[in-house]
């Protein structure tokens, strides 16, 4: 089935000031659509963590959200450096965040596990030196 609506937001590496805009724009959109608020909250958390991972760990990328009748599918894609060991990265508490990011309260190693916990379906792919792609699906009811 084709999506009803899709939006795409660019995410810039290292931009902590604007980091979070994609998820707040998406939140606004979902509220306008009248999506149930507890579901908006889960989408918000997942999208924000994925967005901040692009800001903190990658050279830049984008977030794309496709909205269907009954679900949202979010793709967070960046152009590298990729994750060498995905299993390790998925562990709670594992983090390679820089000191700067840690000072801003990131780097708890909770982002990826939180994304997985917030979503109904979760897929992650990565190739070192090329890309990281996270795809999640959250159903509306």
């Amino acid at each position: 089935m084709e999506e009803l609506l899709s939006v795409k937001y660019d995410v810039v590496s290292g931009d902590f000031i604007r980091g979070g805009e994609a998820s707040s724009n998406l939140k606004k959109l979902l509220n306008q659509l009248g999506v149930r608020s507890d579901i908006v909250k889960r989408i918000c958390v997942a999208c924000y963590e994925a967005e901040m991972n692009i800001v903190i760990h990658s050279v830049g990328g984008y977030i794309e959200a496709k909205i269907y009748n009954d679900k949202i599918e979010i793709t967070a894609y960046d152009y590298g450096p990729g994750i060498p060991n995905i299993e390790l990265a998925m562990q709670e508490g594992y983090s390679t965040a820089s000191d700067v990011a840690r000072e801003m309260g990131f780097g708890g190693g909770m982002g990826l596990p939180n994304i997985k916990r917030s979503s109904d379906e979760f897929y992650i792919k990565s190739e070192v030196g090329k890309f990281t792609e996270i795809k999640i699906i959250i159903y509306f009811n």
Binding site: L5, V7, Q32, L33, G34, S37, C44, V45, Y48, E49
Partner: protein, 414 residues
């Protein structure tokens, strides 16, 4: 939609359509139509920013006056705790309360007692709501959460505010003394328009009915006459921890919640709520969020500047070592947690009741946004190009209103 009354209103004749209020409204609740500002009631959170920024005095706050208390046999004042910081540091609260009696009140209720009760219920509340708990003392913050952050409604604490607790105690007391409810007039001396609105909402419940709100700035000159030259060296009977509720951070200080955030100023509150929604603050216990700079001491209807007022409050506090020891409030406790679903999901952002038509509207909105310059000039009467696109999609504005689209751009190249 339940709540339609707002204390913030517009005097149309004074408005020249300058767009200042529209551009400063933190929730984009104002438009300019036909050269006059219009407040969208369902979006307004009564923060009073428009009253602050309007150079022509066109935005006002609806309020009560001292004349209104005459309608009641028993006239009771509940002063906001902020009142005691408005007359300099050598004026004792007792002197101020005596002044209020001279203005015609029969009783001045000690709100610091209710603050101490609220502190106790708040402690329990922290366990009862989603983490981080969000304070409900400021009605503007509550409305902001309900309208813009519906997913955070479950974080709002359920306690009654000190103002409601006071009204509850007064109503019970006078009922026991044999008064009819309608003969007892309770008036809140308010620091802000936000509480004027809140009082009109809670007055529907006769057990905590408050009959009106009188701005502190309005009674200030009259009160000053009774206070001038009256120094008092004996300390007032008032609670130190209760007084702390006046300034930003004071609730946490009074209760001793350490793992908390105290945020003041509506724009800062918005930033913090965004972080709560993104899940960044899940490990924090309590967020004391107040719409005004330095909490209620920054209320629009006060006289003293909020920072000197804090100094005065703290100075007063340093001389008092009394607090109400609230061990047993079980008799009123059951009534303290707001019973009716007072906080509700207002869904004011939802653009259509039907999912599919909402999708259509958003699509047309996105098309319109792409045609607009993105300069947010405000000449169309909407606060931003995005808001304008939404207004057009909703049928509240017409594409013809955009100067950029219709006059060949701002430079008149065409």
């Amino acid at each position: 939609m339940k709540q339609l009354f707002h204390s913030v209103a517009l005097i149309s004749e004074k408005c020249i359509g300058c767009t200042k209020c529209m551009m400063n409204c933190p929730v984009e609740a104002i438009r300019v139509k036909g050269g006059k500002a219009v407040i969208y009631n369902e979006k307004c959170i009564d923060c009073g920013e428009c009253i602050k920024v309007c150079p022509y005095g066109a935005h006002i706050s609806i309020k009560n006056s001292l004349d209104d208390i005459q309608r009641y046999k028993k006239k009771i004042a509940i002063p906001s705790v902020t009142l005691y910081s408005q007359f300099g540091k050598n004026v004792e609260p007792d002197v101020i309360n005596e002044g209020l009696l001279k203005l015609g009140f029969d009783e001045v209720f000690d709100i610091t007692f209710s603050c101490d009760i609220a502190s106790e219920t708040l402690k329990k509340d922290l366990e009862r709501v989603e983490k981080p708990a969000i304070s409900t003392l400021c009605p503007t913050v509550v409305r902001l959460v309900e309208t813009e952050y519906p997913s955070l409604v479950g974080h709002l604490v359920k306690m009654l505010t000190p103002i409601e607790i006071s009204a509850l105690i007064i109503r019970e007391k006078y009922k026991e003394m044999g008064y009819k409810n309608e003969d007892v007039g309770i008036f809140f001396l308010t620091p802000c328009p936000s509480w004027v609105t809140k009082i009109s909402e809670i007055s529907k419940n006769e057990n905590i009915r408050i009959n009106g709100a009188i701005p502190i700035s309005d009674i200030y000159p009259k009160l000053l006459k009774h206070i001038k030259g009256r120094a008092d060296d004996k300390n007032s009977f008032i609670s130190r921890t209760g007084l702390m509720w006046a300034y930003s951070g004071g609730q946490c200080e009074a209760i001793g919640i350490e793992n908390s955030i105290s945020v003041d100023g509506i724009k800062n509150v918005i930033k913090v709520l965004n972080d709560v929604e993104n899940g960044r603050l899940d490990d924090i216990d309590y967020i004391e969020a107040m719409a005004c700079p330095n909490g209620c001491l920054g209320g629009l209807l006060l006289v003293e500047n909020p920072y000197n007022a804090e100094r005065i409050t703290k100075n007063l506090n340093s001389k008092i070592d009394f607090t109400y020891k609230i061990h047993d409030f079980s008799d009123i406790e059951s009534k303290l947690v707001s019973d009716e679903e007072s906080s509700e999901h207002r869904d004011t952002q939802k653009i259509s009741t039907n999912f599919e038509s909402a999708v259509k509207m958003i699509k047309s909105m996105n098309k319109i946004i792409n045609m607009l310059p993105g300069t947010d000039c405000g000449l169309c009467g909407s606060p931003s190009c995005k808001a304008f696109a939404e207004d057009v999609a909703k049928g509240l504005a017409s594409l013809k209103d955009c100067k950029f689209l219709n006059e060949g751009g701002f430079n008149n190249e065409g």
